[in-house]
């Protein structure tokens, strides 16, 4: 024993009951205190969620409300003032068609704005570590066949005869699938990313592209419809009462409608035409702007994703199967599940962890000493054997239970006792089982010093001396005890 003479906390740490049954008072209290949260509440991107995760939008939604107001007000004015005249003088089909169009436009707008555009969930810590290892191996292996090696964080894939570069996303820690792109406004990787539309208040990607297209198409039809029939109304009125008196009735309204419709026709109809072209050639706005598949780049350059004919491309884009959302917004966060580490390494903001960061002085001492010894025993270049299970609220105490036990900590498995050195080791421990695990580990003399309240410094094999940094911290802690 270290004989620090602190008996009270020592006794507390030594003799507190370690219960592995879920109904221990500690756990019951713990479960009561932290209600189960849904995954949207811990979503790492910059999105806003409404209706308990059913609705998903971008952060800035001001322009979306403007869009809604413009459409509703213009249509409202049309229905209120022009339709009665047109229904009586021409045919009641006009307000009916107008109504159907309006409902369709609003439906498509809501669908495009509120649905998940095809966000790719971020990599879990073990996946990210696995990828980092692979990248490290690629770098270490040197030039491949023919002396050419692609840059470290890219992969090249041949799709339909065209070479496509897959880039590594540093935020999401994945290699982006082809046609995916990272939206900087929403801070997410989106599959088949088209563009971020502020008018719709969301990204336009694989899952909501057809809604976006149908929205702009139906909106251009509605705009043209309203414009045409307002003009018809004015003409009919002026044939009865004269042009100027017809306008005198409500000049502001006509001006408003004309201005809105005029600008809408040029912008929205133009946009619909542009997207019709994109759909026909199966390109995204991104690809078109960059000219990825343009023949100007080279004679051999063609779009590998095209289905060959315009009809096939249109059918695929509009009537193809709708993939489900990959992010499972309304699922519950599993308290033991490995969560991707979305935030910076410094925070240890865990859903299920208590602020039990107070440690017994003795424990700190033990931890720090173990850590220092650990660092001393381990060589610097050990990146393939060090794995990190970040995002866990594991007890940092291998041999103690009770209130001193939990520290949200990253766990470093030392290279020695790992049975198979090529496997990524990750502790998947349920809260009520972890104490027994650590007792097993303690009896096996596998010391696992936590990084004293830190995040995951060893994510990146480039920071190979982080273990040594931690040992220095351990020394500092030791000196403070």
């Amino acid at each position: 024993m270290l004989g620090l003479g602190v008996t009270e906390p020592m006794r507390e740490c030594q003799y507190s009951e370690i219960s592995v049954v879920a109904s221990s008072p500690m756990d019951a209290e713990h479960t009561k205190r932290v209600p189960r949260r849904r995954k949207w509440e811990t979503f790492p991107g910059r999105n806003k969620f409404y209706c308990n995760g059913r609705i998903m939008m971008a952060k800035q939604t001001g322009v979306f409300y403007l869009t809604m107001v413009l459409i509703v007000v213009t249509s409202g004015l049309f229905f209120a003032f022009d339709c009665p005249f047109l229904a009586t003088n021409l045919t009641p089909a006009i307000p009916a068609i107008g109504g159907v169009l309006f409902v369709f436009v609003m439906g498509m707008l809501f669908r495009a704005s509120f649905s998940d555009p095809g966000v790719l969930p971020r990599a879990t810590p073990d996946e990210a570590a696995h990828l980092e290892r692979q990248i490290g191996e690629d770098v270490a292996n040197g030039p491949g066949q023919g002396g050419y090696r692609p840059p470290p964080r890219t992969r090249e894939v041949i799709i339909n005869g065209q070479t496509v570069k897959l880039k590594y996303c540093f935020t999401c820690k994945i290699f982006r699938p082809p046609r995916a792109s990272h939206c900087s406004l929403c801070d997410n990787c989106v599959e088949r990313f088209d563009h971020h539309c502020p008018w719709v208040g969301n990204c336009v990607g694989r899952r909501n592209y057809r809604f976006f297209y149908l929205f702009i198409l139906s909106l251009s039809l509605l705009t043209v419809f309203i414009f045409a029939f307002v003009v018809t109304h004015v003409i009919l009125r002026s044939s009865q009462t004269g042009f100027l008196s017809a306008l005198k009735d409500s000049p502001a309204r006509y001006l408003f409608i004309v201005v809105v419709c005029f600008f809408s026709v040029w912008s929205i109809v133009g946009l619909s035409g542009f997207h019709t072209y994109l759909i026909g050639s199966n390109q995204t706005t991104n690809e078109d702007i960059k000219g990825s598949w343009s023949s100007k780049r080279g004679k051999e350059n063609y779009n590998p994703y095209s289905y060959g004919s315009i009809v096939a491309n249109c059918c695929a884009a509009l009537c193809g199967p709708l993939p489900p959302s990959l992010i499972d917004r309304r699922g519950f966060v599993r308290p033991d599940a490995a969560r991707p580490s979305p935030r910076s390494n410094g925070t240890s903001a865990y859903v299920s962890s208590q602020p039990r960061t107070r440690m017994c002085d003795q424990d700190q001492c033990i931890q720090s000493t173990k850590f220092v010894l650990q660092a001393a025993a381990t060589p610097l270049l050990h990146n393939e054997l060090i794995t990190v299970s970040g995002g866990h609220s594991l007890s940092g105490k291998p041999s103690l239970g009770g209130p001193c036990a939990s520290l949200p900590a990253a766990q470093h498995t030392p290279p020695g006792p790992v049975p198979n050195a090529t496997w990524e080791a990750e502790a998947l421990v349920r809260r009520d089982q972890e104490k027994s695990l650590f007792r097993w580990r303690a009896s096996d003399e596998v010391s696992s010093p936590p990084s004293l309240g830190h995040g995951n410094p060893l994510y990146d094999p480039a920071s190979q001396d982080s273990l040594h940094q931690d040992s220095v911290r351990g020394l500092v802690k030791l000196s403070s005890v």
Binding site: V21, P121, P178, F211, C315, C319, G320, A427, L428, W440
Partner: protein, 160 residues
Amino acid sequence: MGGNLNHEPDADSCYPFSPQTHSLQDIRQQATVAAKVFIQRDYTSGTMCQFQTKFPTELETRIDKQQFEETVRTLNNLYAEAEKLGGHSYLEGCLACLTAYTIFLCMETHYEKVLKKIAKYIQEQNDKIYAPRGLLLTDPIERGLRVVSFTQVLNLASAS
């Protein structure tokens, strides 16, 4: 160092599970130290969801190469079926468009139906083939269709 604190675990009272249970649920719930092997996506046929059939070296000692390839190939076929462009999917798409996509409030999309099939297949594979060998195959949908992961499950009861 702190030897007093490392008292040996009580024989049976601290282990709530019995070594005989091997059902998938139990394996998931048991305290495990797990190592994972990831099978990445194969993008050579475009953006379709396909996984690489290359046999990873880490699994060489654990399972048969044939078995692995068959599992991955079946998964690939199922995903291809989900994303297939054919008469059925066009019909569904047109119908949905005409009803302003409200039809999906009552009915599942074709893709979702196939995902359920995939989940069942994976469960079946785990029960029959992988769990007896101490491996756990996770459904790629839980990983955002990025990877298929094989988790090596190390039973505590056998470790102590």
